[in-house]
């Protein structure tokens, strides 16, 4: 969004404190706090299984490559199960597919031999089209697998978090100096780097499966827990002849991942044809802030589940904010220590501490957005697939052809394909008159048009 995080200068001792400076300082914090609490979609943990010995993409995803941004480590967690001659590849596209890891181990195991693989993309790659596109493929023989998460991480900030967060005190002899104010500014710059990442969308569709008498997961969505969050999913169940549709929360690599990989709670059990709006406060489930979890939605055979919305939002009561800085300053104001401490403390609560010690952490990972699964994966079938967004950034990136549709279904804008089908494209969403920031919309195919992937970014 335009100029929402205004620049601010480093002050020097002897400068007069201006109301503009203080108001700008607080305005930056406001934007950051909003970023910590943005409505966001969930990463789709895609399962894929090849039925032929040829090249098959188990999972593919992408995000924007920002050359300025210090998130340069690709981190993935994937499980593969390979038959005799099968070869699994993790590849990144840089003008051509470049193999990062080749895995030929038979049987069910962590791809690459580790529950998390990491690759340094900071050098040796150009990403000329500005996109980091990654795939997990199997070739030569059959295999299957699941991508549990994939993101660019390893955040090394341009502006470091200050070694000591300033504490202000009233009274003579305690006058803060420029270094104190600049430390607050540095905290904001650090958090700005965290907040500048593509906005995750949720892939939704109508799903069903034909595995007789069995329960199968239809969706597995991954998210990183921030604390006071709510998972909201709205779905329609039909053809529920004695069937169940379950919503679970579970460890991110369920059912794998060691002793801790387990289902944590059942969030819903639907047995009738109905529309369900599940608004689940996650704060009471014993989750650990900073840890990744999975929400699974599945059905017993024959049931149809149409997902209408799936996203992470604030609690119904609104976001928690212990320290609320005052954003209104007048020329000639003399700041009290308490007012300055509110600003610093508020920022401190946005630090992405993986130990859960902060209230509103801004996670810095650039989640890759999973490409839409095929219409059929074995016995599982999907139709009416969509990427559902909450509009935050100006640019929509997509591949394929389809259209933007407003949440009420009344407005749409066509998205054409590239001459070579499936090329990367971007649309200036400011040019879409019916779309406002904060509004929900979908990107979806129609007729023979298919959307391969869609997500928002700030450039």
């Amino acid at each position: 969004m335009l100029a929402a995080f205004p620049p601010i200068r480093e002050v020097e001792d002897g400068d007069y404190l201006s109301a503009t400076y203080m108001e700008t300082l607080v305005a930056r914090s406001e934007w950051l706090f909003g970023s910590a609490h943005s409505r966001t979609g969930l990463f789709l943990q895609r399962y894929g299984a090849s039925s032929n010995p040829g090249l098959y993409n188990i999972w593919e995803g992408e995000t924007v490559w920002h050359s300025w941004h210090p998130n340069t480590a690709l981190r993935i967690s994937a499980r593969v199960n390979l038959t005799a001659a099968a070869i699994a590849y993790l590849q990144v596209y840089d003008g051509a597919w470049v193999t990062l890891t080749t895995d030929t181990t038979n049987g069910d195991h962590w791809f690459g031999g580790s529950a998390q693989m990491e690759y340094d993309l900071s050098s040796g790659y150009t990403f000329a089209d500005g996109i980091v596109r990654v795939r997990l493929a199997v070739d030569t023989d059959t295999g299957n697998g699941t991508m549990y998460y994939a993101h660019l991480g390893d955040y090394t900030p341009i502006t470091a978090w200050p070694g000591t967060v300033p504490t202000f005190a009233d009274g003579a002899g305690n006058g803060p100096d420029a270094a104190d104010f600049n430390a607050v500014r540095d905290m904001q710059e650090y958090l700005y780097g965290c907040a500048m990442h593509p906005q995750q969308s949720s892939w939704i569709a109508t799903g069903t499966h034909a595995q007789g008498g069995a329960y199968l997961p239809l969706w597995r969505w991954m998210f990183r827990y921030s604390g006071l969050q709510r998972f909201y999913v709205q779905f329609v169940t039909t053809a529920m002849a004695g069937d169940h549709v379950y919503v679970y929360i579970q460890d991110v690599q369920y059912p794998n991942g060691g002793s801790g990989a387990s289902r944590l709670a059942t969030l819903a059990d639907v047995t009738t044809d109905t529309t369900t709006a599940l608004s689940q406060d996650l704060s009471g489930l014993g989750l650990t802030v900073g840890t990744r979890y999975c929400i699974e939605l599945g059905a017993t055979d024959g049931a149809y589940v149409e997902i209408l919305r799936a996203l992470m939002v604030d609690l119904v009561t609104g976001p928690a904010r212990t320290y609320v800085p005052d954003g209104t300053w007048a020329e000639g104001d003399q700041p009290a220590a308490a007012a300055l401490n509110l600003i610093a403390d508020d920022l401190e609560q946005m630090y992405p501490a993986s130990d859960g010690s902060t209230e509103s952490p801004i996670w810095y990972e650039h989640q890759l957005t999973t490409y839409a699964p095929p219409a059929a994966i074995g016995v599982i079938a999907y139709s009416a697939a969509q990427y559902r967004h909450t509009h935050r950034w100006r640019w929509l990136h997509w591949r394929g052809a389809g259209r933007l549709v407003s949440a009420d279904g009344l407005s749409y804008t066509s998205l054409s394909d590239t001459a070579t089908p499936g090329g990367t494209q971007a649309l200036d969403l400011d040019s879409v008159a019916w779309l406002d920031y904060g509004q929900e919309y979908t990107v979806e195919g129609y007729g023979s048009n298919t959307i391969l992937v869609a997500y928002e970014d700030y450039e």
Partner: protein, 478 residues
Amino acid sequence: MKADHDSIATNAALGTGACLKVEINWASTTWTDESAYAIAASGHSEIMDPYAGLLSLGTAKLATATVTLSNTTRRYSAKVAGTQAATYGIRDRGIRISAGYAGGYERVFTGKVVNCEAPEGAETAVLTCHDLGSEPKRQEYTSTMYTNEETKTWLGRIRAWAAVASHSFENTVHVIPYCYLDDDDLLGEMRKAAASEAGVLFYDSDGTLHYWGAYHWIGKASVATFDRSDFVELTPALGYDNIYNIISVTYSPQQKGRATTVYQLKRPVMVPKSGTETLTINFPKPLATWIGATMAVVDGGGNDMSAAVTASTGPPDGAQRWTVVFTNASTKLAAWVTRFDVTGYPVDKRPAETYTEDASAVGETDRRYDVPPNPYVQTEQQARYLAKLLAQRLKVVRAVYTTSGMNGNPLLELGDVVTLQGDIAVTSATAIITSIDWAFVDDYTMGLACTDKASLYGFTESEYWTIGTSPCAARVVA
């Protein structure tokens, strides 16, 4: 006020023994004392237009001086062979003028000779001189894009491009998101940057370039008191034309766009065999970041010649232009560049917005002032700062005091705070010297224009909070 090393202040009060020194830098290495030829001199300098008052912040005119010199030897006649002026030229020669009393001098002007009138029938030459701003005023410059520049940093860059060595810039308040020059005159751009913070930019009498911010006069005490014994006339004028209670500042938000093709060649460009062709291309939008360029080259028959022709490597020399040199290594065939696509991240200008500060009181007539557009005012924060500052300063009628018939005092400087005391029209006023007129014709006299310092700031000056000095305290809204 300059330090008084030669009892100038005492002698200025007496007004006797005035002396003038004129020096010209003929050979750009040494200054030659021309005082023996000096007959008269006068000058004007200002930090803001006394008639436009605070509205003219950032737009001070160049200081000027006029010097009448004896030319009986044709020393200053450039068209007479063998003279000093013919040997070295007279235009653009450095000139500095000092004045004082009893052999004690202080500089009152430093600049360049911009014109010399030495008519056939006269035995005098009259030099017209402008201060050192005349140099950057004539210099045009093109730069690449600079992002999130503090105003002071940007001022410093322009100053460096203008090769201005002696300078003194106060800290600035804001950060300008996007800055670049595209054949812009350097003095004009510095003035715009200064105006974007309601500051002043000027050359002082010693040739030092100053930037003062809006807070410059906080805590500045009066350096001299003048009463009826010091001036012939003191005229207060109330600037009713400069009262405004509603201030509007228009700003132009800008944003880095997506990577795109920012330029495409619209015609084939011929590159001669074994030769080069220079093409200066203008981008429709300035570039925040250059990515690269691709081209296609053929001969007259359409055969590929891409192996023979190269283009200058980037990045472009300017944010909005690129001088590209195509070089054809073929000794047999001319080449035509048929495609030259430049890709990069353009800066998109968003629709302009306006911040309005309404400081009108109930029952007051609305008097609205629209601050002229300034390319460096790009954020709402900048516009709000300007609007609030100007509204506070312009909502009250401000007196402008002019004095005449004063003995010249070369110690006085623009921006000095002085106390003016009269008996009838003005009892006592603390004011800022905004312009100085001086003249030396046998006697050394001067006149001042001063703007009232009262209510220049919204609060008691001691209440302004200084970083690194002032303590935190229970919040007080002054």
